[in-house]
Every structure is written in C-alpha cells, then in structure tokens.
C-alpha cells in the first residue's frame, strides 16, 4: 500500500527515522539533503508513506518503536548507505572530494 506523502510530513518523518539511526550524529547535519534524496527515491518514498500510515504520523508526528514495521530494514539500510557514502566518511579514509578525480596524492 502506498499513498501520497506531503513534503512536510515526509521531512518530519525522515527526521524522526534519522533520530533512531545508529549513525544519527553524522546524519543529522545532512538532514535536508537526506530528506530530498529520500523523497526522490521510489522505494524509500513508498516505504515512508507506508510508515506514515501505520504510525498515523500526519496527526501524531511521533514514531513508536514498532512503527517502522517491515520497512525498517530498507529505511535503515538507506541511512547506513548515506553514512558510508558521505564526504565525512570518505575523508576519514583519505578520499576527500576532488572534483571526481582520484589521481595519486
């Protein structure tokens, strides 16, 4: 089941899910970017819509422990992926942004 998710509900929901991620410290400063990418992705947008219905998120704006339901794995994998693809993580392995170029150091 998937329904339309308004952008402001989507943004609040992404913020609530990020708050439950083990990578939240690194992800929170990127929340705007993460929200935009999440809502533009077919699978993640559909998963968010399902979670919104299950949790009645539009009315309550709160997310209970069980509300992620079967979408939990997808949403947490998405956030984990973002963490490991983030500039901060890449910088920690010596691969800072260099305009797409990876010549020798």
């Amino acid at each position: 089941m998937s329904v339309k998710l308004t952008d402001d509900v989507g943004a609040a929901l992404v913020a609530a899910i990020v708050a439950r991620s083990p990578y939240r410290r690194a992800l929170t400063p990127m929340i705007g970017e993460i929200t935009r990418i999440a809502l533009a992705n077919n699978q993640i947008r559909a998963a968010l819509a399902d979670v919104a219905i299950r949790s009645n998120f539009e009315a309550t704006r709160t997310l209970g422990r069980r509300d992620l339901g079967p979408q939990r794995a997808t949403l947490m994998s998405f956030l984990e992926y973002v963490y490991f693809a983030s500039p901060a993580f890449l910088a920690s392995v010596g691969e800072g942004p260099k305009e797409g170029s990876h010549n020798g150091h």
Binding site: P22, Y23, E33, I37, A40, N41, N42, Q43, A73, T74, S77, F78, E80, Y81, V82, F84, A85, S86, F89, L90, S92, V93, G94, E95, P97, G100, S101, H102, N103, G104, H105
Partner: protein, 544 residues
C-alpha cells in the same frame, strides 16, 4: 553543418560504435552523409553535473536505487538505459535484459572502453579472416586512441597503443597470482582501453576509477567527444537528432531501397530521407526491428529476411563476476593513481567436465568504493564494527569480470512482437535461454577466478553468473555470411538480395568470441566506409 537535406548519398541510422566511425570516414571523403539518431544529444556537463560517477551527487542515489541491492547489478541501474515504453522491446520483468541507450553515441555513452582485437580463430565461420581486417583495426585504434602494451600473445593480437596508466598494488597482486599458476595460456596484462591517457590535454583521463558511469571529460572514446567535432562543420555532413527511423523504403519487390522513413520525436511528424545507400547501425536488436517493420507485400516477413535469418542467433557473452577484499591490502592508504579502475586484462582457458577446454577473457577491477556496495557483506555486525571494518578495508576491494564466447542457437532469437512503443512503433520480442554449455563455462570461470583471488589473499568472495543480457555485447542477429541461407549480410555487409542496404552494428558478428566485440564493430565500420567510397568512385566513373 549542412542545412536539412531530403536527399543524401549515405543515410546512416545510429551514432553508436557502428554508426560513428563510418559517418566520420564518409563525411571526410566528401560524400553527402546524414546521420539519423533516435535520441538527443546529452548536455556537455551531463557526466560531470547531472549524473556524475560515484557518490559525488546525492551519494550516488537516484530514483531507481534499491535496498538491498546486488552489488554486481549496480552497473545496470542508470537513467540513460531505455525503459520498455521507449526501447525496441517491452523489457518484460522475467525476460532477456536488453540494454539500449537512445541518445547520440548509443551504448558508448557508458561503455567501458575495452578495445581488443579478435584473433584468427575468432573468425571461424566468417567469409574472411583476421588479416583482412588487420589494417582496419590499426586505423580505428589510431582514430579512437587505445592504451595498452604489445605482448605478443597470439590469441590477443597487438595493436597501435599509447601507454596505459601504471599498475597499482592490487594489480600487481593479481598479476603475481596468475603467474604463479605457471599456465602458458593464462595471462594478466595491462588493459587495452579507448582512453586518452596522455596527460595535459583537455580530455585526458582524470582517474575517476570507473568508466561505466560515463566519462566527465570525454577521455573515453565516443563519437561526440572525438570524431563528430571533426565533421560537424562540413557542408556535406548533417547530424539529425530525435530522428527515429521506423522503416526502410523501397518500391515493393525492388532490389534497391530508396531511403528511410523516420519520426521526428520532438513533433511526432513522420518524415522521409532519400538516400543512394542506407546503412543500418542501430544495434543488434533495433536493426532487426527496423527490418521487420519494413515488411511489404513482396517481403511480408521483413526486408532482407527471405531465408528467415533476421533476428536468429542472438548472442551475449556469458559472464562470471567475483568480488572480494584482499587481506594483504587491509589498512593500506592510497598513494597511487586509481586510474580508470580496471587496469588488467585477464585471459585463460577453462576446463569442462567432458575434458574439453574453452578460452575466456576478462578484467580485474580495483576502484574506489565511494558508493558502499560492500555493506551487504557486513550484515550482522554492529555499526561501530562496520565503521572500523569499512575504514580498514576501503582500499582492498577487487572484482574479476570474466567472459566466455556466445553460442549462435537458432531458437535464441528476436521476432516481431505484439507491443508498440510510446511512438506507436511495433516492438520486438526476444526468445533467449542460456545454452547448457554456457552454464558449465560460467562455473569453470568462477573456479579459475576463485583460485586467482585466493592466491592474492582473498577473504570472503561474492560471486554471480549471468547470461541474460547483462553482458551487453549483443551480436549475431544479422549475421555476416556469403551464403544467403546462413546469414543476412554478405562479406561487404550488404543485405543479401538488396543492392544498396547495409548493416553495420553488433548484429553482423556471426559467432561472438569471448573477446569484447566493439573494436571489431568499429573496424568493420571503417571497412564498410572504404567499400562505399570505392563503390561511389567506381559508379561515378562508369556514369561519367
């Protein structure tokens, strides 16, 4: 560029590997040439801004990215690949996975650039041998710039090369692993790729570590990056984009064609272009579609199809892919140029249960995992451990992609379909099952790959095999043969029974060897250009 003509000497359908080389050659020779290209031209900054390689934009996440994903499938998720509403096939979910890029340059927008010559044995079943194409290979290599090294390996003829990029520690480990087998038929040599490795030029390779996401600077050969600029200003050349050819035109039963009909996809208008010669270079699946859709009362099964050969014998290279993290590279920092990612060609022979053997070729890839496909291998570990592992292993990943020959089976074929695309043009259906021998060959390649990776200190190995369209080396559907009952085009790539209709794309290759086919498509395209130049000259002399 010339103003829009309604008549030309040569109409060339498509601007991919087959269409680009011949357009350049014939336009330079002074013939009046029109290239008709179904798609548009990508903006110059498409691969640097709109869809750059890796994680640079939006962490590499697009609308179709999925979780969990098969790491070996990432190559096949790109917005440029045509969907079932626009492509030659409806792309049914469980069918042959046909990849098509309907844009200027075709599949070469995303190709990996590996450019290898076929050897004498690979020409078995052709009406001519290696020597006949050797000069064309050389001319094309100089035109498109291929990096590589001369190795003197009979199964992989040397060509005209510029220096490749230097090998990295991961490459050296693979080279040593292959050497340690002490098999005279196993080789690990610098890759041969159509890339400008010469430093200091506007389109020199900038080392993104991956070519299959498109090159941001045009270092990897494609028509628009190298050859089109040389002919775009000529009065006798015209590139017509958004021109989707639907059929070849002729008076019913005539042995000459008069031109092509196409749809201007911007306006929906149907238009015609008359031509002395028509060259179909729309790809091994689209060209049969055009021939089927050109059926008339005299040839109700389609043009050039009197012996039912059009579409028969579809092939793609069966492939085995293995990825691992090399223990000996754990904790290593990068102090080297990552280059174009896959710096090695691998070659060997696999053994089959019946004792026979077969050749295969492939490449060893060591890129930067900025898009973290490796995460699927970390499942079950707590986040803090994942972070430590990811940091330690970041520069240790290696993937081997190994390909063996296709097999031309009559039942693997393209036939007219029952669906239409969004412009109302009939599509084709693909019947394809993996030949039984291919399964054994893929298993044998996996075995060899495992052996190499383990010798190079592999940890856990992630493996996959496939022969369902993801080799993206489509061949055999308009095969070359002097015998009209065995093929569609003759040794000059002219359709049997039609005086001025030619085909020049992957479809003409009758038996797909293990080796990447595209350099051979381009060499054939150069050769066809020469043939048409000579034909025009001699016909002009006779007329005078």
């Amino acid at each position: 560029m010339a103003i829009e003509a309604d008549h030309c000497d040569v109409a060339i359908v498509g601007t991919g590997a087959g269409g680009g080389i011949i357009a350049h050659r014939l336009a330079k020779a002074g013939l009046k040439v029109v290239s008709l290209e179904q798609g548009g031209r990508l903006p110059d900054d498409y691969f640097s801004e709109t869809a750059p390689p890796g994680a640079k934009l939006d962490f590499g996440i697009g609308p179709s990215t999925v979780w969990p994903a098969d790491p070996h499938d990432s190559l096949f998720v790109h917005p440029l690949f045509a969907d079932g509403a626009h492509g030659a096939t409806p792309r049914p979910a469980d069918g042959f996975r046909h990849f098509q890029i309907l844009k200027l340059n075709g599949l070469q927008n995303l190709w990996n650039g590996v450019s290898v010559r076929f050897c004498e044995a690979d020409f078995a079943g052709w009406p001519f041998g290696y020597d006949h194409l050797a000069d064309d290979y050389s001319q094309v290599e100089r035109l498109i710039t291929v990096c590589g090294t001369k190795e003197g390996i009979a199964e992989l003829p040397d060509g005209e090369f510029i220096p490749p990029k230097p090998l990295r520690p991961a490459d050296t480990m693979i080279v040593n692993a292959v050497k340690s087998l002490r098999e005279p038929f196993s080789h690990a040599i610098p890759n041969r790729k159509a890339i400008i490795t010469t430093p200091g030029l506007a389109n020199s390779c900038i080392s993104t570590g991956i070519c299959t996401s498109g090159c941001p600077v045009g270092a990897v050969y494609k028509f628009s990056a190298r050859l089109l600029p040389e002919i775009a200003g000529l009065d006798n050349y015209e590139l017509r984009t958004n021109a989707k050819v639907t059929r070849v035109l002729r008076e019913p039963g005539a042995e000459t064609v008069s031109g092509v009909e196409y749809i201007d996809t911007k306006t929906g208008e149907r238009r015609r272009l008359e031509a002395r010669f028509v060259v179909l270079a729309a790809g091994a699946i689209e060209t049969p579609r055009i021939l089927f859709n050109s059926a008339d009362d005299a040839d109700p099964a389609g043009l050039a199809n009197r012996t039912d050969r059009v579409g028969q014998g579809l092939q793609d290279n069966p492939k085995s892919v293995l990825s691992t993290s090399l223990l000996k590279l754990w904790g290593h920092k990068r102090t080297y140029d990552i280059g174009y990612g896959d710096l090695l060609i691998l070659m060997s022979r696999g053994k089959l249960p019946d004792g026979s053997d077969f050749p295969f070729i492939g490449h060893a890839i060591h890129g930067l995992p900025d898009v973290p496909h490796y995460l699927s291998g970390f499942a079950g570990f707590p986040p803090a451990v994942k972070i430590r592992m990811a940091r330690m292993m970041f520069h240790s990943y290696v993937t081997l992609g190994l390909f063996c020959a296709g097999e031309a089976r009559p039942e693997n074929r393209i036939r007219p379909g029952s669906t239409t695309d969004s412009d109302g043009v009939p599509q084709v259906t693909i019947d394809f099952t993996t030949p039984p021998a291919a399964r054994e060959q893929m298993a044998s390649m996996l075995k060899w790959g495992r052996k190499i990776l383990r010798k190079a200190s592999a940890t856990k190995i992630y493996e996959s095999i496939d022969n369902n369209g993801t080799g993206i080396h489509y061949a055999g559907t308009t095969a070359i043969s002097d015998d009209p009952s065995a093929g569609v085009v003759d040794r000059d790539l002219r359709c049997h029974g039609l005086d001025n209709l030619y085909v020049c794309d992957g479809g003409v290759i009758p038996n797909l060897p293990d080796k990447h086919l595209t350099l051979s498509i381009m060499a054939l395209s150069n050769r066809l250009g020469r043939h048409l130049e000579e034909r025009v000259q001699s016909e002009t002399k006779v007329a005078a």
